[in-house]
């Protein structure tokens, strides 16, 4: 099937099999390997991207379902060399260790703060419940998002 998807501001048109997931499409067809696959069943959240502004787990969205949509991946978040405030906050607060869950965590944080610019710790933890991190114990991820919220309030 022919699909046309805008990814990180650029339109991509590809002929793909209907069974290809959005995560596979991003990784294999567009070489955007920042989107990681940890489980294939929406369990771990490492593949989280935003589709038309809302966070989705790209392993369980078919690429054809995203036809005509606008995707932002972790690669599209920074402004050139300048990191997005959420990326910067993760670095500042040691919100990552092995880095594998990190793109999903950051993209989920984008969604959390978009819908709730001033979340409580409980709201942040609730917002992260679809994303596994096995390294950090979530402590510094929560702190990173709190820090980013403060920065983004300006």
């Amino acid at each position: 099937m022919n699909i046309s998807i805008t990814v990180n501001g650029k339109i991509h048109t590809h002929d793909i099999e209907p069974r290809v997931s959005l995560a596979q499409f991003l990784r294999e067809n567009l070489d955007l390997t920042g989107t990681h696959i940890g489980c294939d069943t929406s369990g771990c959240g490492a593949c989280t991207v935003t589709l038309d502004g809302a966070a989705v787990k790209s392993c369980t969205v078919l690429a054809v379902q995203a036809d005509g949509g606008e995707i932002t991946t972790i690669e599209g978040l920074a402004n050139g060399d300048e990191m997005h405030p959420i990326q910067a906050a993760f670095k500042e607060n040691h919100g990552l260790q092995c880095g594998f869950c990190t793109p999903g965590m950051v993209m989920t944080a984008v969604d959390i703060l978009k819908n709730n610019p001033d979340p409580t710790e409980t709201e942040i933890r609730h917002g992260l419940e679809g994303n596994f991190c096995r390294c950090t114990g979530y402590h510094n991820i929560v702190k990173s998002i709190q820090h980013a919220a403060e920065q983004m309030k300006g």
Binding site: G38, C39, K91, C98, P103, C133, R134
Partner: protein, 786 residues
């Protein structure tokens, strides 16, 4: 001049991860690369009657299909540790084939590999492989595996034992002391099987270069050199110098990526057969079925006390599952990494542990974060808290009564345990004192009492752990059955311009070596951190290495780098003395320059470096260059310790446990980067909490895994966990140059019993004395009803 040791320096590796530019194995694409899928057994124990690949071979895009009938079927991956039976019989060590030939021994065992142009084609074709199995009865429980008549995992031997083992004092003496003890506390429980679950699944690409006759294996491993050694010398018999193993970014390990797995050997073999690169990346269910698991001990224990509450003896019998095959370090885990910690932080005079290690129709069990030490700590810390309750004593008071007194390992000697080890240095009462202050122990007891009157169930649980890490002195582990040395390699290459490349055999998969190692190298050389680069994870770059596990990177790997730094400074001083026309002994080195003492005559590190590579005016007889490599073999293990305290609330109606607070006061020796140490502790604690409350690998009677996905295997999520409150004391390690002990496993070792102790404490007034992990609402509720 800016210094870096002890400061929370932000990580230099973060930028690439945060921008999605990490280099994980599955991110790599090679020209002409093929993809692969495995056909795996749905049965735990079965005869393979036939395998029909005819339909699959005709499937679109298929390049090759191999089964155990091909020559790869003769190869097997080895075990790296030998523990013989108590009666002297050699450890029973089955061949662990790359592909099962006639017999299946666990669910998920690979029967065939299908290689195709695309992943989808490989998976489609794998579904067309027809395997005719004859299903057989299986045994998955370690204790049942040793019962007469249990199905045999390996028919070469009369029963399922791989080995048995014991440690400590004479059993009869321990039993006699228990018989005459004032009080004896008994426990029987299962330290349940866990899946490590690094979020990055295992991934490999094998690439055979037909023209050069060389292989490159990209692999998500914690120890690339060890994989190369095992792969070349013990599995495929290919020359080691023709193989490059590359392990760039790895998405978490926790032990599960130490081992040499069958898939990486098979891909390496097959890439030569087809003359093209082959990729395989595990999916999550394959990870549950084939990554080595952790724990799985069946425990029966007795601890005796005198009337003052002093421990007089401790006797334990355990069945520890090995799984169907012996994984790389498996026999060491329930023995030398476990029994040697039965002293804990207490003065127990008589200890005996007996271990039986059976094969089971399951995937292998090996080291998982803490490896043997969480199991030892869980037993000790649970049985002491249970004893305190039975003797109507406060659990903190009972611990204070039994602590080994403080010793620094310098002025006071190390502490010789009853179970072979000599602790390096420790101050165990101090961390408990601090932990109790942090949690507000006395006030909590009042709050708990008041809450109980209102029907609210609060509990507090204490754990005071010790662990042995920084593994390990090669001669010691060699005498205990290790088939490898456990030194580490660190090379420091000063470039002509004074910039420094460090090559380490340690491997970073989240630990932040690129930052921490640069911190101390920069400080020791008195140069900027930006002038130091850390290289790891490529056998063509780093001379050798034993990798990262057992909290060894800084204490062993860091020490190797320090040795090379010292050699650099020693040679640099000779060059500096020549250039300054002074005697070496008249020089001092500080802030990146050699100065003639008492004068302003000096020469910088950069100038000495340039001189070493442009040796026109140079000491006679001295080799040019400034480049050293060192092996560091530790003289002892290191012994971090600490106190973990959990506060929980149990829902009286549902049995659901809420972790309200978690306090950790740890002592990991000197701290290079407190931000990273705290991060390691926080993450470890949450893994330990996962074992206490949520996680369990479950096999049913037929050997089928019923917890093989994230829908079925519960791990801690962000909303299960509070902020982790950390503090530390610092008791330097007396036997390594940085004075460090290691921080990677402490969190997972100390935390589990603290949480279970807290839940039992919350329910103690209902007569609850123990609950089997994981403490699911159902189990807690049932315990409350009884």
């Amino acid at each position: 001049m800016e210094t870096f040791i002890g400061k929370p320096v932000k990580r230099r590796e973060d930028a690439r991860f945060l921008k999605g530019a990490g280099r994980y194995t599955d991110d790599i694409k090679l020209p002409k690369m093929t993809h692969s899928a495995f056909v795996r057994s749905p049965y735990a124990h079965a005869n393979i009657r036939s395998i029909d690949i005819s339909e699959a071979s005709k499937s679109e895009g298929v390049v090759a299909i191999y089964t155990g009938a091909d020559s790869c079927g003769t190869f097997g991956v080895p075990c790296g540790w030998q523990v013989d039976f108590k009666n002297g019989e050699t450890m029973r060590e089955p061949l662990h084939p790359l592909l099962a030939k006639d017999k299946i021994k666990h669910v998920g065992e690979a029967v065939a590999i299908v290689i195709a142009e695309t992943l989808e084609q490989a998976r489609d074709a794998a579904e067309l492989v027809q395997v005719d199995y004859e299903s057989l009865p299986a045994v998955t429980d370690a204790r049942k595996a040793m019962e007469p008549g249990a199905p045999l995992v390996h028919e070469d031997w009369p029963d399922n034992a791989s080995f048995d083992w014991c440690i400590g004092n004479d059993r009869a003496a321990v039993e006699a002391a228990l018989n005459s003890a004032h009080h004896v506390t008994e426990m029987e429980f299962r330290n349940q099987r866990l899946a490590p679950n690094a979020i990055e699944p295992r991934s490999y690409i094998a690439d055979y270069d037909v023209n050069a006759g060389k292989w490159t294996l990209y692999t998500s491993t914690q120890n690339p050199h060890l994989i190369r050694l095992l792969l070349c010398a013990f599995v495929l018999g290919i020359p080691e110098h023709k193989v490059r193993v590359v392990s760039y970014d790895v998405g978490g390990g926790f032990g599960s990526k130490i081992y040499h797995y069958t898939e990486e050997a098979l891909l390496t073999w097959a890439s030569k057969e087809i003359g093209r690169p082959i990729k395989w990346t595990s999916d999550r269910t394959e990870a549950f079925l084939t990554d080595a698991h952790g724990r799985d001990h069946v425990v029966k224990s007795k601890m005796g006390f005198d009337k003052e509450g002093k421990i007089v003896a401790h006797l334990t019998d355990e069945y520890c599952a090995m799984g169907a095959y012996l994984s790389t370090f498996a026999p060491a885990v329930p023995t030398y990494l476990h029994g040697t910690l039965f002293q804990g932080v207490y003065t127990t005079p008589l200890i005996h542990l007996n271990v039986t290690a059976p094969f089971t129709h399951t995937v292998a069990v090996d080291a998982y974060r803490g490896a043997g030490r969480p199991e030892a700590t869980y037993l000790l810390e649970r049985i002491i808290s249970k004893a305190a309750k039975e003797m109507d004593m406060d659990p903190a008071e009972l611990r204070f009564k039994n602590f080994i007194p403080p010793f620094d390992g310098v002025n006071e000697p190390g502490y010789q345990t009853q179970v072979a080890l000599q602790y390096d240095s420790g101050n165990y009462p101090e961390v408990l004192k601090r932990g109790l202050e942090m949690v507000g122990y006395q006030d909590f007891r009042k709050e708990q009492e008041a809450a109980r009157k209102n029907g609210k169930l609060l509990g507090v649980g204490i754990s005071t752990y010790i662990e042995g890490c920084g593994i390990a002195p090669s001669a010691v582990v060699g005498s205990l059955g290790a088939r490898a040395g456990l030194y580490e390699v660190g090379a420091v290459r000063v470039q002509p311009t004074g910039k420094v490349s460090v090559f380490t055999g340690s491997h970073s998969h989240g630990q932040g070596h690129e930052t921490v190692f640069a911190q101390f190298v920069a400080d020791k050389l008195g140069i900027a951190m930006d002038d130091v680069e850390i290289e790891h994870g490529d056998t063509d770059q780093v001379a050798f290495g034993m990798g990262t596990y057992g909290s060894r990177s800084l204490s062993v790997g860091g020490s190797a780098i320090i040795k090379s730094v010292e050699k650099i400074l020693e040679k640099g001083a000779k060059i500096a003395a020549h250039k300054l026309e002074a005697a070496e002994e008249d020089l001092e080195y500080a802030e990146g320059k050699w100065t003639v003492k008492g004068t302003d005559k000096s020469i910088s590190f950069g100038d000495v470096s340039l001189t070493a590579y442009v040796p026109h005016d140079y000491p006679e007889g001295l080799e040019p260059g400034l480049d050293f490599s060192s092996f560091y073999d530790p003289t002892n293990f290191t012994y971090p310790f600490g106190t973990h305290i959990a506060v929980v609330e149990v829902d009286a109606d549902t049995g659901k446990v809420t972790l309200k607070r978690f306090v950790a006061c740890d002592d990991v020796g000197n701290v290079m980067n407190p931000m990273i140490v705290d991060g390691q502790i926080q993450g470890g604690v949450v893994q330990g909490v996962g074992q206490a409350l949520l996680e369990e690998v479950v096999y049913d009677e037929s050997g089928q895994m019923v917890s093989g996905s994230y829908m079925d295997y519960a791990m801690p999520r962000a909303d299960d966990i509070p902020m982790i409150e950390t503090d530390r004391t610092v008791t330097p390690c007396p036997h390594n140059p940085l004075g460090v002990k290691g921080a990677g496993e402490a969190g997972a070792i100390g935390s589990t019993p603290a949480v279970v102790n807290a839940v039992v404490d919350a329910l103690a007034h209902l007569g609850v004395t123990d609950i089997q992990m994981p403490l699911t609402p159902q189990r807690v509720w049932k315990a409350m009803q009884n």
